[in-house]
Symmetry: C2
Subunit: 318 residues, 2 copies
């Protein structure tokens, strides 16, 4: 089977046909028509075998996750997903693997109305690069730089679940399947992100851990934050680890949460809550921004935690 | 040095600042503003170490080539390059390597007015994925499917030079530096491609070899072709190999030419020539399309060559 047959078979028809994609897989370029008054939001991410996922991971879940991480970036801009491209590097042609991978990719594509419009398949060590393309009114895009002193800091979902799953896997322990699902099948918070247009002053998605990612918002906005750790939304399993070990690194600095962290005026807290409910998503206020730069974490005891913590770094802790 | 510092230092300011990129490197997404009446042409390509380039290749040339292959796809649509994204996977942080790679990438970006607007840097086996984004009036895009019986087939430049360089390298022979440049530093035919809007009936860029790539045009257009091999534009070195061995595989089926192959009405041949001259690019008519499907090659002797030849296949001949 040639490269071309392979692409054609598994990737020619993923996601809904969209009239705004004039040309998709099968020419030198895909041709996309952006509606007037919309900006295009784009983000590219690579997942590498042995670094971002285990070589024996379920290919269907990998297909899901390789798109999910990009959709999470679109969510963090308040953008509406529209198209994707896929650059897949494979050590060999394995039809079972391709079938499963494309099924996971296709299911999430369908759920968010994303059409796969182009790609490249090459031979080499297993890795997946996906670029997502979304639409957002230029003034509606939620950047990292708009947060103001006095804003409340919010996060969606719960923190540290993926990190705990990874820890269990690396420890050779029994892995809780719900936690494993959080690591391998993150749900991008697209509806929530879009709903927060005009309301969130700044937003980021949590891929490298709360401390590091919120740090980017603080830096871009020129503000600081004080978090109340007692308020961090934790699953019972993560809460148990934190309580027993007195170690907050799971919710603060483990990666792969793919939740949204955003800032909004105190006065808008009720609107934020209503939008979260409409999006079917839990949202929790975890702290407050101030003019004093840096990130401070108040422990449940009332003490302030020294935070030299940074998040997952692909080169130092990969 | 963290991933973020690294990206910031070498990739934060590549290509000219463009007012239509509202947000570039350093947020969850880049935000691009597409002018009204233009469609967006996108293409993604991956170059893998040991497959598409030698592990010890000059990083500056790799930076050039990783963008050039995408610009060649834009050229083949008649699109005007505008933005790029870069997903770089590196085994380790090597500042010398990054400096050289980014210099090659930056120089070609500047030459074509392409702004690098986003990316991802990860740890893993060396590979480079680049997505290019170009602009083209929707009706002006040149597809693979518009060729008609009676059209002439043209190619730009010369064929088989990169293939001969690769052969010399693999044979351990002295490598001609001009040929090596054709392999490692291809010049995307952007001006020629754009100039052919409204004139070329179909176009493709030659990455997998003339026979395979023209084959895609023939299939998409529902036509066949007869090529006159004596007319193929060959450098003296490739011509010598063909003549001595009587083997046409270099110009017909070696990869990495990154020339354009296109079709146009016989009556437009003079206009094609004028556009090629304006683009500073040689163009040669090499054959004619017909209703009879398939690709036939007439040898200089007058005999028809049986063509079971296909091009470079990343999975079978990689």
């Amino acid at each position: 089977m040639s490269e071309f047959d392979l692409i054609r078979r598994y990737f020619a028809d993923i996601g809904p046909v969209r009239p705004d994609a004039a040309l998709g897989v099968g020419d030198d370029c895909a041709l996309l028509e952006i509606p007037p008054g919309q900006a295009l939001a784009v983000s590219i991410d690579t997942l590498v075998s042995g670094v971002h996922f285990f070589p024996d991971c379920d290919p269907e879940r990998l297909g899901h996750k390789s798109l999910a991480v990009g959709l999470s970036d679109l969510a963090a801009m308040g953008a509406e997903p529209a198209w994707s491209t896929l650059a897949l590097t494979l050590p060999a042609v394995d039809e079972d693997w391709l079938r499963s991978f494309s099924r996971g990719f296709a299911r999430l594509s369908a759920a968010h109305g994303v059409r796969l419009v182009g790609g490249d398949t090459t031979r080499g060590p297993l890795s997946v690069s996906v670029q997502v393309h979304g639409l957002v009114p230029p003034g509606g895009a939620i950047r990292r730089s708009g947060a103001r002193p006095g804003d409340r800091v919010f996060v969606s979902g719960t923190l540290g679940d993926a990190g705990l799953a990874l820890r269990q896997i690396l420890d050779g322990a029994d892995v809780d399947e719900a936690l494993r699902g959080r690591l391998e099948c993150p749900e991008p918070r697209v509806r929530l992100g879009r709903g927060l247009r005009g309301l969130a002053t700044a937003m980021i998605d949590l891929s490298d851990g709360l401390a590091a990612d919120l740090g980017h918002v603080l830096q871009a906005s020129g503000v600081g934050a004080e978090l109340e750790l007692a308020r961090l939304p934790l699953s019972p399993m993560v809460a148990d680890v934190v309580q027993r070990a007195g170690d907050w690194s799971l919710p603060l600095s483990s990666g792969d949460d793919y939740e949204l962290c955003f800032c909004a005026a105190e006065a808008d807290a009720a609107r934020v809550e209503a939008i979260a409910q409409a999006a079917g998503c839990q949202v929790t206020a975890i702290g407050t921004l101030s003019k004093v730069s840096g990130l401070r974490c108040r422990l449940p005891s009332g003490d302030l935690l020294e935070t030299g913590m940074t998040g997952y770094d692909h080169f130092s802790a990969g």
